[in-house]
């Protein structure tokens, strides 16, 4: 017991070190929403500078520490100004990669300036031992722990009580609101980066004498530091401190009491997973701010180009010098691993940092099979790929409760655990002697990479090509649409009946299998299989390659593969550069800075412009803003004509003008082809053939509680087919919560019956599948997809077979009669090939309703469909709502602030306030009900106003005054 307690105390002291480092990361995250991987580098700057000032130049310790802290603050501020601020509109992932690039640069700068040997700063804290009963702990460690506690308390107070702190708390989520309140958002962020840098610098200066200084000192703290920041939800200072204690103690106790290999590294991350399960959400809240992700390619494959490229590569491989072939093999194997990142992060939007390690797991399985049983190469490859499926599912599990950076840290943690438990475990990797694998053959032909590097290249080329085709096929097929839908908006995806859980796990499995193929290829390229190159930090580097190449594009994987130091570019230029040693020394520094520049220049990756669709060319020519007719896209991933020589933007010569003309001509032709394709598809479908499946919706006793707050209290509502029932009430009345409860988006009690079927025990996507469709107040269209694909998402059959069939034969999806009818009803023909961001706001609202209709719903729940529309558009919406009910036989439940619209379309109205029903009846009855008027005005009118028959009434005016919605519209005639 004493030993347990002793270790607990020591572990908590180590946790103090983690906390010191984590506080700076939390401060930066709170203000900018990104994880600053460079924080470890900034801490090193603090540590080394303190040593240089105090121990080399003789500056008094106190002044040296102060100087180090200020310098670190300045460095972090510079990181923000130079590397992060220019990426303001880029994906969070891109920003994270930028900070990683800065970390690489700082580390290398330190190697160049101070060398690799350890520096041992003279301690400025007492170094004796303090005894507490039978327990002992170093005095310096104890002081660091106390400092961590004090700093945590100070930060907690500052960020809770001061204007600066409160503004920062609002910064990551609502910068525009903050700006509207007069805050300079940029300066506020910069200030937080400086504070984060100062904290890192303090950690560096304080921990330097205890941990010693090497270029990797603080990088080795990165993973446990992230773990404790994660436990603090990347926001809470006290919980970060608690996380530090927990992680430190768990590591120490696990290494002492758990006998399984790698337990000390693995246990902290099991803690993270536990925290995620407890604190995560299966669906993001309405307030969840979707992180912007890099752009994705279309997945279109031009077969002649592909065959030509593969054929050319094969021919070149047989004639060029062997070094080039070997370099190309390494690039292509790396590209295979990066391809998995394209699927999981590019297509599915899941930030997985475990892909390379998953590749390693596949490699371990394949190498063991080959070493133990002499299995043929192809069998080892396939089994390695399949064996990784359960592990991929395990890695994917956190994605069901976590998103964005939280998921990234969780997957990084699992990668650490897998590395510790599998990839460095003698039992699996052959111990001291390693795994002896016989030279590989394929169909009786030797493909050993040492003896036959050209043949091995062909094998790697073939495997990559097949997997790249499969990935591109998935992108174009129904399963790809599901992944993109989930990536774009989980709530909207569920509302269309998409199984978000299934889609995420499918993406993890598919990406894991691809990564495993890359891992197997990598390991069979070695004379003696080794698994050190699959470690999680190398995985971070591979993610850098993927982002630089273009994480949303299949060709991006190939470009990313070229960034492998030993890849094709190295092989080609090696004879030219020779042993240019000085260059190799400064290379990581220069490349780190160059990466930042590249990310700023092209945040979507190098492949993005190479595969730029004509959509982007069109935008470049037509100017910004919503596209006009003629500037439509070509989602075919082809090289844009506008990128052709002479067509560069800004060119003024005849060639340039000719190039632009040519580009425009090609673009128009492509648009014309596509539109005529859509027209042909639509012509084959009879909109009148849509099924009429309207049936009654009955919700009784609906109750929703958020903690101690009752958001909805025993509300009943019934909608019959062909009927429009509206729900009104002031803001906060519980209208959208009622819709969320009925559709399964928030946990609730009560009974929901659709027709004869009780559906309240079904998940949201299953309720959608049985006929409950909804729209969202904030539209929640899939912005990476064209309008047509948005509609297809709703009408796609949710079959599982497509998950496999799409790999080889992607189905674009047939246009259903309901989709055709929705297109016709809302007049969307000329917008089908546009992205939602390219059409006017009013049209987007129509698309949102059309999308809900395309799924042939029995009941349609519309959340403020007329918000923000012009008078004319509102009239159109009113007409459509009535038509949906009367002509399509759908039961419509409408939430709307526009009283005139409510009056115009509703058969029945339910008024809510504070989660309770305050009135029901016809529109006239409810809108003049005293409780309703009181709910809006705060008090009942002294004299009830008469109900006008045609135009506005006091209730409606009051309603708009209270809600601040669009001005009263009293002129539209009532139908």
């Amino acid at each position: 017991m004493t030993e347990f307690l002793q270790l607990l105390v020591l572990g908590m002291a180590t946790g103090g070190f983690y906390t010191m480092n984590a506080l700076g990361i939390v401060v930066v995250f709170r203000s900018s929403g990104i994880i600053n991987f460079a924080s470890g580098g900034v801490a090193m700057v603090g540590g080394y500078l303190e040593w240089q000032l105090a121990d080399v130049w003789g500056v008094p310790k106190g002044a040296a520490v102060l100087g180090a802290v200020l310098a670190a603050a300045l460095v972090n501020l510079l990181i923000y100004v130079v590397a992060v601020r220019p990426l303001a509109t880029a994906a969070a992932l891109t920003k994270v990669i930028a900070t990683l690039a800065v970390l690489v640069s700082i580390q290398q700068a330190i190697v160049l300036i101070f060398g690799g040997l350890p520096k041992v700063p003279n301690p400025f804290l007492p170094i004796g031992t303090t005894r507490i009963g039978s327990l002992q702990v170093g005095q310096d460690s104890l002081i660091v722990l106390l400092a961590a506690v004090v700093l945590t308390g100070a930060l907690w107070l500052v960020y809770r009580s001061t204007r600066f702190g409160l503004a920062t708390s609002a910064l990551a989520e609502a910068p525009r609101s903050l700006s509207a309140l007069g805050w300079n958002v940029d300066r506020l962020r910069a200030a937080n980066w400086a504070v984060g840098g100062a904290l890192a610098g303090l950690a560096g200066a304080g921990l330097g004498p205890i941990l010693q200084l090497t270029p990797g000192s603080f990088t080795s703290l990165l993973i446990p530091t992230l773990a404790c920041a994660m436990i603090g939800g990347l926001r809470s200072f006290p919980l970060t401190l608690a996380g530090g204690m927990l992680v430190g103690a768990a590591q120490v106790e696990a290494s002492r009491y758990l006998s399984w290999s790698g337990s000390a590294q693995a246990v902290p991350f099991l803690l993270i997973i536990a925290v995620l399960v407890l604190r995560g959400r299966s669906l993001p809240l309405r307030s969840y701010v979707q992180e912007r992700l890099p752009r994705v390619g279309s997945g279109e494959v031009r077969l002649p180009v592909l065959l030509g490229a593969v054929g050319l590569a094969a021919v070149l491989a047989s004639v060029v010098q062997e070094e080039w072939v070997i370099g190309a093999t390494i690039s292509m194997m790396t590209a295979t691993v990066l391809l998995s990142q394209v699927v999981i992060t590019g297509y599915a939007g899941q930030l997985s940092l475990a892909q390379l390690t998953l590749g390693g797991v596949g490699a371990v399985v394949a190498a063991n099979l080959s070493a133990s049983y002499g299995t043929p190469f192809l069998v080892s490859l396939l089994v390695g790929m399949l064996a990784v499926i359960p592990v991929s599912l395990l890695v994917g599990l956190p994605s069901l409760r976590a998103r964005g950076v939280s998921l990234a840290i969780a997957t990084l943690g699992l990668a650490v655990a897998l590395n510790a438990v599998v990839l460095t475990n003698s039992r699996f990797v052959g111990g001291l002697a390693g795994l002896r694998v016989e030279p590989q053959t394929l169909f009786g032909v030797g493909i050993n990479s040492t003896l036959y590097p050209r043949r091995y290249f062909l094998v790697v080329l073939a495997v990559f090509t097949l997997l790249a085709l499969a990935a591109a096929n998935v992108r174009r097929g129904r399963s790809g649409r599901r992944l993109l839908a989930v990536r774009n908006n989980e709530r909207a995806a569920k509302a269309l009946g998409i199984d978000v859980t299934g889609a995420k796990l499918y993406a993890f499995v598919l990406a894991g299998v691809i990564a495993a193929a890359g891992g197997v290829l990598l390991v069979f390229n070695q004379a003696l299989p080794q698994f050190t190159s699959f470690d999680p930090l190398a995985g971070l580097n591979s993610l850098v390659g993927a982002v630089l190449g273009g994480i949303g594009f299949v060709p991006g994987a190939i470009v990313g593969g070229l960034f492998n130091n030993n890849g094709l570019p190295n092989a080609i230029l090696h004879p030219v550069v020779g042993d240019w040693t000085w260059w190799t020394q400064v290379f990581p520094l220069i490349i780190g800075l160059a990466l930042v520049l590249q990310l700023i220049a092209n945040p979507d990756g190098l492949a993005a412009p190479l595969t730029r669709s004509r959509r982007q060319s069109g935008k470049a020519t037509a100017g910004s803003g919503p596209a006009t007719a003629g500037s439509g896209p070509a989602a075919d991933g082809s090289v844009p004509a506008a990128d052709a020589p002479g067509a560069a933007a800004g060119g003024s010569g005849v060639a340039s003008r000719l190039g632009r003309l040519s580009a425009t001509a090609q673009r128009s032709a492509a648009e014309e082809r596509r539109r005529s394709g859509y027209a042909r598809e639509l012509a084959q479908v009879d909109p009148a053939a849509r099924r009429s499946r309207g049936c009654a919706l009955s919700a009784t006793g609906m109750r929703v509680e958020f903690g101690s707050v009752v958001a909805l209290a025993d509300v009943d509502i019934t909608v019959q087919p062909g009927q429009v029932v509206s729900v009104i009430g002031p803001n906060g009345a519980g209208k959208t919560t009622l819709m969320d409860a009925i559709t399964g988006f928030v946990p609730s009690s009560g009974t929901v019956v659709l027709g004869e079927q009780r559906i309240d025990r079904l998940g949201a996507h299953r309720r959608a599948r049985v006929g409950l469709a909804r729209s969202f107040q904030s539209l929640e269209l899939f912005e990476d997809m064209t309008v047509m694909d948005n509609l297809r998402c709703a009408s796609d059959p949710q079959d599982r077979a497509s998950l496999l069939i799409d790999l080889v034969h992607p189905s674009r999806g047939a246009v259903t009669p309901a989709t055709a009818a929705a297109i016709e009803a809302f007049g969307l023909h000329d917008k089908l090939d546009r992205l939602p961001t390219e059409i006017a706001y009013g049209d987007r609202r129509l698309v949102a309703i059309a999308r809900a209709l395309a799924g042939e719903p029995a009941v349609l729940l519309l959340d403020e469909p007329a918000a923000g529309l012009s008078e004319f558009e509102r009239g159109e919406v009113a007409r459509m709502i009535t038509s949906m009910a009367r002509d399509w036989g759908i039961a419509v439940l409408l939430i709307e602030h526009d009283v005139q619209l409510v009056r115009q379309v509703s058969d029945h109205v339910v008024a809510l306030d504070f989660g309770r029903t305050i009135a029901t009846g016809t529109p006239e009855q409810v809108l003049s009900h005293p409780d309703v008027v009181r709910a809006y005005l705060g008090t009942a009118p002294a004299v009830p106003a008469p109900l006008p028959t045609e135009t506005g009434l006091i209730g409606s005016v009051a309603l708009e005054q209270r809600t601040g919605s669009a001005p009263a519209h009293t002129t539209a005639p009532r139908r």
Binding site: F17, T214, R256, A264, E322, G578, T581, F587, I590
Partner: protein, 413 residues
């Protein structure tokens, strides 16, 4: 071409150029040949630039030793009138680059790879060298592949044997209760088990621990270890972590001995330790460069000549890595002068017939005609003799100037 595209292409070009420098290798002349006047081409490999695999440290010393010896021999007319041309290749601590280095040796028509220290990439190099039939001579072996490959001829016992040989040093240093910590690298669990077995066979009480490689805070693991009240403590990983353990142990009041192999605490790591380094006992397979032995002095002189008398560089390179590189050239010279063709094939045939080789008195005489011991994974061990040293004022000094044959501690599994 717009500015953005220019940046992209510029970056690609930068990556390409920079990446190409990763395996920087070229000799003094591009001319290759096997004629009687053409140079004898050999390759020296090592992590010439700081590698993250080695905690940001480079290991160019082996290459320096090879070059120093080759320059001295060339200055005296070469081997049988032929100059030695040293091609170099930077492995960067990356196994893939190591394999490329071996392939480069093949395309250069190098007749041997000399003086390598490649803990991560040696098996990859050997895979290529075996296929190409190129001997791998006189490195600092760190992997079982180097003790078992048919093209590998090692005269330094290396860290793998040191991990069990140290059991005898514990006994000879008067230890009774030992704590031995190793980084949890693949295979080290087996080494730890063998270490424990050897120590117990020699009557010692021993506690072994595997810790996370590159661990930041060593205090918790150390506290657990010191709870057994050892009189001897050993860390068998990298120098940076060794420094941490030693300083932390002293801080925790540990007054016993520190013992390790010199590979785990190179002389340059004694400086950061200051006075805390005094008294550390190390096992080393070569005489220290400061030895009075005439041939060791020759090594020191030739190293100094190669480094043009630069004291800082001389101090940095005066270590076992440079010695093993220098000695590997002596072995090559003796083999060719002793009748081998100056070819890879000739060396592979001739070296196994060299039964009494003096590679420069840095090492004891080595017999390549028969192994001193074999086990399942270590089949070609030609030397397991060690010297004991103690650290004093930032330097290692021999304790008894005796070669200790520690073959009895050879790991049998």
């Amino acid at each position: 071409m717009n500015a953005r595209r220019t940046v992209q292409l510029g970056l690609l070009a930068a990556v390409t150029v920079a990446g190409s420098a990763a395996c920087g290798g070229s000799g003094e002349s591009a001319e290759a040949g096997t004629g009687s006047s053409s140079p004898i081409r050999v390759m020296a490999t090592g992590a010439l630039t700081p590698s993250s695999s080695f905690g940001g440290i480079s290991f160019p010393y082996g290459v320096t030793g090879v070059k120093a010896a080759a320059e001295a021999i060339n200055a005296k007319g070469g081997i049988k009138g032929r100059k030695i041309q040293v091609d170099t290749c930077d492995t960067k601590g990356d196994p893939n680059v190591s394999a490329q280095c071996a392939r480069e040796a093949l395309s250069n028509k190098d007749i041997a790879v000399l003086g390598a220290f490649d803990p991560l990439g040696a098996p990859q190099q050997l895979g290529v060298l075996e296929a190409a039939g190129i001997p791998y001579i006189g490195g600092l072996p760190t992997t079982p592949a180097e003790y078992s490959s048919p093209v590998s001829f090692q005269f330094d016992p290396g860290p793998v044997l040191a991990s069990t040989a140290i059991a005898k040093l514990w006994v000879d240093s008067g230890c009774t209760t030992v704590v031995a910590i190793l980084p949890a690298n693949p295979g080290n669990d087996q080494l730890a088990a063998q270490q424990k077995q050897q120590a117990q066979a020699l009557g010692l009480k021993i506690t072994t621990q595997l810790v996370q490689p590159g661990i930041a805070d060593v205090t918790p693991s150390l506290t657990t270890a010191l709870a057994t009240k050892p009189d001897c403590f050993t860390y068998g990983g990298d120098g940076q972590t060794s420094v941490k353990y030693i300083l932390a142990a002293r801080k925790l009041g540990y007054t016993g001995k520190f013992l390790t192999s010199s590979g785990s605490l190179l002389p340059q790591f004694l400086a950061p330790l200051g006075a805390a380094g005094d008294g550390i006992i190390v096992l080393n397979s070569a005489l220290q460069p400061t030895s009075d032995d005439p041939m060791v002095k020759q090594f020191a002189q030739e190293l100094s000549d190669h480094l043009k008398g630069n004291p800082g560089e001389i101090a940095k390179n005066s270590n076992e890595f440079a010695q093993v590189g220098w000695s590997s050239v002596q072995l090559l010279k003796q083999a060719i002068e002793g009748g081998s063709d100056a070819s890879a094939k000739g060396l592979l045939a001739h070296i196994p017939t060299m039964c009494d080789v003096n590679v420069g008195n840095v090492y004891p005489h080595v017999n390549f005609c028969k192994t001193v011991a074999t086990s399942k994974s270590l089949t070609r061990v030609y030397n397991n003799q060690w010297q004991y040293f103690v650290a004093k004022d930032g330097k290692y000094v021999p304790t008894d100037n005796t070669w200790h044959d520690l073959t009895s501690t050879f790991p049998r599994s």
